[in-house]
Amino acid sequence: MGSTNSTLLKIPNVEVLMQETGFSPAHIIRLHDRFKALDKEGRGHLCPHDFGAIKELAMNPIGDRIIGAFFSPGKETVDFHTFVKILAHFRPVDKDRPKEPNSPEPINSRSNKLKFAFQLYDQDKDGKISRDELLQVLRAMLGMQVTDEQLESIADRTIQEADLDRDDTISFEEFRKACKHKRFTMFRFCIRPGERKLMLTLCHWSSELQDQHEL
């Protein structure tokens, strides 16, 4: 317990951080270790190239967008607090957390998770996913497997599905509605302190089952 406390003490404002994010001390320590590991030069903050050094991440088709999500506009660095706050998006929505009417919406609320996903699409931060932005994501994810024309058709169709006000873009509200699905449970992100093992999953709108039966 002593070591736990000493590590925690090193982190400034750790109480506030835990309050805001809902992470347990064990989580915070785990993340702090990782943060230090990433911060190879020991500056106390991370730069984009620190993230870029993660080999697997470099191969992720939308990896750069996710890295970008850690940096607020204009900033070149991310400190530990921001780092943890971003990751807090991936905590499961806790059901039994006491609801205080005055408290701000927790970071891991449904809506905030969706916002996080939304901003990965919305690169110019105008609150709308334009056709071009969608196309970029599609191109990154589908890669060479389909032609440009097909990509465009897919993008068109996707926008058409979600676009309610016919402005050919997807606003956050529209995005939220498109994701407002019974089967849809949001990201879950669990760190289990007892097991020293981190697990992470996404519950899909998994219609895979039906798809395959219908096919």
């Binding site: 990751l87 497997q145 169709r157």
Partner: protein, 816 residues
């Protein structure tokens, strides 16, 4: 439809084979009975005009009669259930119906002449059910829950077998069952055969209940795999029983466990091997598409039999064969073959499922097998039920320590309640050797009672239970591209976040496997073409588009003809262009499909009718078309009237064993296409002389030259030579564009029917049905574009379309 005929054939062939041995026992008796008649017939001196030769056809006849009866039973059960507001599951009703049928047979013969014999069941009825279940297994779901499924299937089954066997033995020793000739090993053997949850019964019940997919896959996957496990377990114990109690020592037990592992995993690997074989096979069946669907069944069955031969687990073998091959086979085969496999598989599985349940009922009406021992039977029922519940909760409790999304208590209740026993247990019980197990009949009757109890009673109560417990149901919803897109994006996001957090999690393994699969396995097992186009998102998109197309064609036909409705719609969509450019390489037959349905959409722009408020953005919008729509329509209608019907007429009498009317349709498509282009041209000539000169003249010139040679048959026959068309089709050129063939009539020549433009259009159906003459066709067939450039007034989109087709055919040639 031709495919349904094919399916019927398949059904007949397969089912005859399946049920054949079923009757063999009977046929011997009957033939003895029939022989005197036979003798008499031969002694006749005169020439008999008609003879009654029952014994000639007896066996297949009885088989097919039973198949027929089973079909009728299914029909009546479904209809009945319809009215009984589906209280009783189909499987239960079939068993009850089996009782009645069995009663009739017994009443007639005073003995049960028809029984479900184990070989029939294991060789002819079971394989296709397992193959069907595994072939349509939702792979992603299955593999992501594989850990839990394996735990339940292996340890759960062993647990059930051991506890039921031991408890029964304990009760027997306590004297509850009276005097029976059963030892501990026999009890364990019985426990192992009664342990397995039966996939047939489970699927039959759970399909009607629609529980959520995780629960479904757990129960379903477990029942599929534990069948394999239970058979292995059964064989091990069977060997132990044969060996006799005193001779079993530690070494033998160790060998038993070892054999269990070898048999189970060996079977699985054998299945995977056959899956690879099958995938490789379908890679090269391009030219025999008509039989490629058969390979799936044949190889699957081969996997089953081979495993049986090597005394490996046949069920596991065929299971893994189906699970592993589905992706590659579906990608490799022609879309039509995929449909064929899908339907044939369902037909076979459904058919044998019906037979199984029916015969489970029929078998019961037999005085021979019934041995009653209240203690044994009731205790078995009790233990089977209780240990299933205990086992489920025990293993779930352990699993939940590791599972990210724990299995909820309600789900556990449903899982344990869904422990239906079925025909596999009965088959194994019937396989018992009476010499070694004196109480075989008691075991059979107990098994039957357990089966009836679980399938009928638990089956009936399952639905109310699920409703009462408010188990999460599977939600049905429309397929949405944006959902799929987000799913994909979320996968990447999570993977990335996982990387940032620096731990190996679930997604890491998934990704590693996916990459390996994509780079190596797909490369090995998939056609290059299929590999290129198999992106999941894209296929969803493709499917959605197809749905739209079918929707609006059917909607359009309801309103008359597409040609009418499209003219005044706002958004004109050029179908031909879309499909031609996008999907031609995915599925070259798509145009053929279209013409099969007499859609006729391939020649012109069609409008989104169903969703006219939502213009289908995915399909191109052609502003150009709108302006010229009326001109187009007139010309098209005329051409359609003149040309369509005769084509149909001509082909109606053709028969080919290896093709449907594909080739002819191909001709038709091409002709229609030509004529369409032609008509556009002509209509433009007459209406907008000199307005819109063609842009790509030189290119077409070149093209014409290259096509000169191919064009020869046209000149000679004066009609399109179908062999030529067939050749172009089979070489895989997609649709060869005859538009670029050199012209044969004078450019200024105006076809006579164009003069009739003013005439009142005939009724919509009649429009397509005016005859053509070779003369007219000859004039129409070759499409003139460019020899006289001033005369060719191509609309922008026409030239576009042409270009694309040109490019398309070029690329196809290059590929070859």
């Amino acid at each position: 439809m031709a495919s349904s005929v094919y399916l019927c054939l398949l059904r007949a062939v397969f089912l005859v084979c399946f049920v054949n041995p079923l009757i063999q026992g009977l046929s011997e008796d009957e033939s003895v009975f029939q022989n005197p008649h036979h003798q008499q017939e031969e002694n006749l001196t005169g020439l008999p005009i008609v003879t009654f030769k029952w014994h000639h056809v007896e066996t297949p006849y009885l088989v097919i009669i039973w198949v027929f009866v089973a079909g009728l039973a299914k029909l009546s059960v479904v209809e009945l259930n319809h009215h009984v507001i589906s209280v009783v599951p189909e499987s239960g009703l079939l068993i009850i119906l089996g009782f009645i049928l069995g009663g009739i047979v017994w009443g007639a013969d005073r003995a049960q002449t028809f029984k479900l014999l184990p070989p029939t069941f294991f060789y002819y009825l079971l394989p296709q059910i397992i193959l069907d279940a595994s072939y349509f297994m939702p792979n992603k779901l299955f593999f992501s829950n594989l850990g839990a499924i394996l735990i339940y299937a292996i340890f759960g089954t062993c647990w059930n077998a051991a506890t039921v066997g031991l408890s029964l033995w304990g009760c027997y020793e306590a004297g509850v069952m009276g005097n029976l000739d059963i030892g501990l090993l026999q009890f364990l053997l019985f426990g192992s055969l009664i342990a397995a949850v039966d996939p047939v019964a489970v699927i039959a019940v759970f399909e009607e209940v629609h529980v959520n997919e995780v629960l479904f896959i757990l129960v379903f996957g477990e029942s599929l795999l534990n069948d394999g496990v239970t058979v292995v377990l059964y064989n091990v114990f069977d060997a132990f029983v044969a060996l006799g109690g005193p001779r079993i020592d530690a070494a033998e037990i160790f060998k038993g466990i070892f054999s269990f592992v070898v048999v189970a995993f060996g079977g699985s690997f054998l299945g995977i091997g056959f899956a690879i074989l099958l995938s490789l096979l379908t890679r090269c069946t391009k030219h025999i598409q008509i039989i490629e669907a058969g390979f799936v069944f044949v190889v699957g069955y081969l996997a089953y039999l081979t495993a049986e031969m090597l005394s490996l687990s046949a069920i596991l073998s065929i299971t893994f064969c189906g699970i592993c091959c589905q992706k590659y086979v579906n990608a490799n085969m022609d879309e039509k073959s995929v449909t064929t496999v899908r339907h044939a598989m369902k037909l076979l599985a459904n058919g044998s499922e019906t037979m199984i349940f029916l015969f489970l009922g029929v078998t019961a009406i037999d005085t021979e097998i019934w041995v009653w021992n209240t203690g044994f039977i009731l205790l078995t029922l009790l233990f089977v039920f209780i240990y299933r519940i205990i086992g489920t909760f025990l293993f779930t409790w352990m699993l939940n320590k590791f599972r990210l999304v724990p299995i909820e208590v309600i789900d556990q209740v449903v899982m344990s309640y869904g422990g239906l026993r079925g025909a596999v247990a009965y088959g194994l019980a019937a396989l018992l050797d009476e010499d070694k197990i004196p109480e075989k009949n008691l075991m059979i009757s107990t098994t039957l009672i357990v089966v009836y109890f679980t399938v009928i009673l638990q089956g009936i109560t399952m639905k109310p239970l699920v409703q009462w417990l408010k188990v999460k149901r599977a939600a049905h919803s429309d397929l949405k591209l944006i959902e799929k897109l987000n799913n994909r994006a979320f996968d990447h996001i999570l993977a990335a976040v996982e990387d940032i957090c620096g731990r190996i999690g679930d997604n890491w393994w998934t990704r590693g496997w996916n990459r390996f699969e994509e780079n190596y396995i797909s490369w090995l097992l998939m056609k290059p073409k299929a590999r290129k186009n198999r992106d999941y998102l894209f296929s969803i998109f493709h499917k959605l588009n197809l749905e739209d197309a079918i929707n609006y064609v059917s909607e359009g036909e309801r309103q008359g003809s597409l040609a009418f409705s499209r003219s005044d719609e706002a958004a004109n969509v050029d179908f031909k262009k879309q499909f031609g450019s996008e999907f031609a390489d995915v599925m070259p037959n798509i145009m053929v499909d279209m013409s099969n349905y007499e859609l006729g959409i391939e020649h012109f722009s069609v409008t989104s009718i169903v969703k006219d408020t939502i213009p289908s953005v995915s399909l191109d919008i052609h502003g150009q078309d709108r302006k010229n729509a009326m001109d187009d329509i007139n010309a098209h209608h005329l051409l359609q009237q003149h040309l369509y019907r005769s084509r149909k007429h001509q082909h109606r009498h053709k028969y080919s064993r290896s093709h449907f009317s594909i080739n002819q349709n191909e001709d038709e498509v091409q002709e229609i296409f030509q004529r369409t282009m032609r008509s556009r041209l002509e209509s433009f000539k007459s209406t907008k002389m000199g307005v819109n000169p063609a842009k790509k003249i030189t290119k077409h010139h070149k093209k014409e030259l290259t096509h000169k040679v191919v064009d020869l048959p046209f000149d000679k026959t004066g009609a399109i030579n179908s062999t030529f068309m067939r050749d172009t089709y089979t070489v895989g050129a997609g649709i060869e564009n005859p538009v670029f063939l050199p012209d044969m009539d004078s450019p200024t020549h105006s076809p006579p029917w164009l003069m009739e433009t003013e005439a009142v259009a005939p009724s919509q159906r009649a429009q397509r049905r005016l005859p053509w003459t070779p003369n007219r066709l000859r004039r129409l067939a070759p499409m003139r574009i460019s020899t006289c450039s001033t005369d060719s007034f191509l609309m922008a989109d026409v030239s576009l379309t042409l270009e694309e087709h040109e490019e398309h055919s070029q690329t196809d040639h290059v590929e070859m």
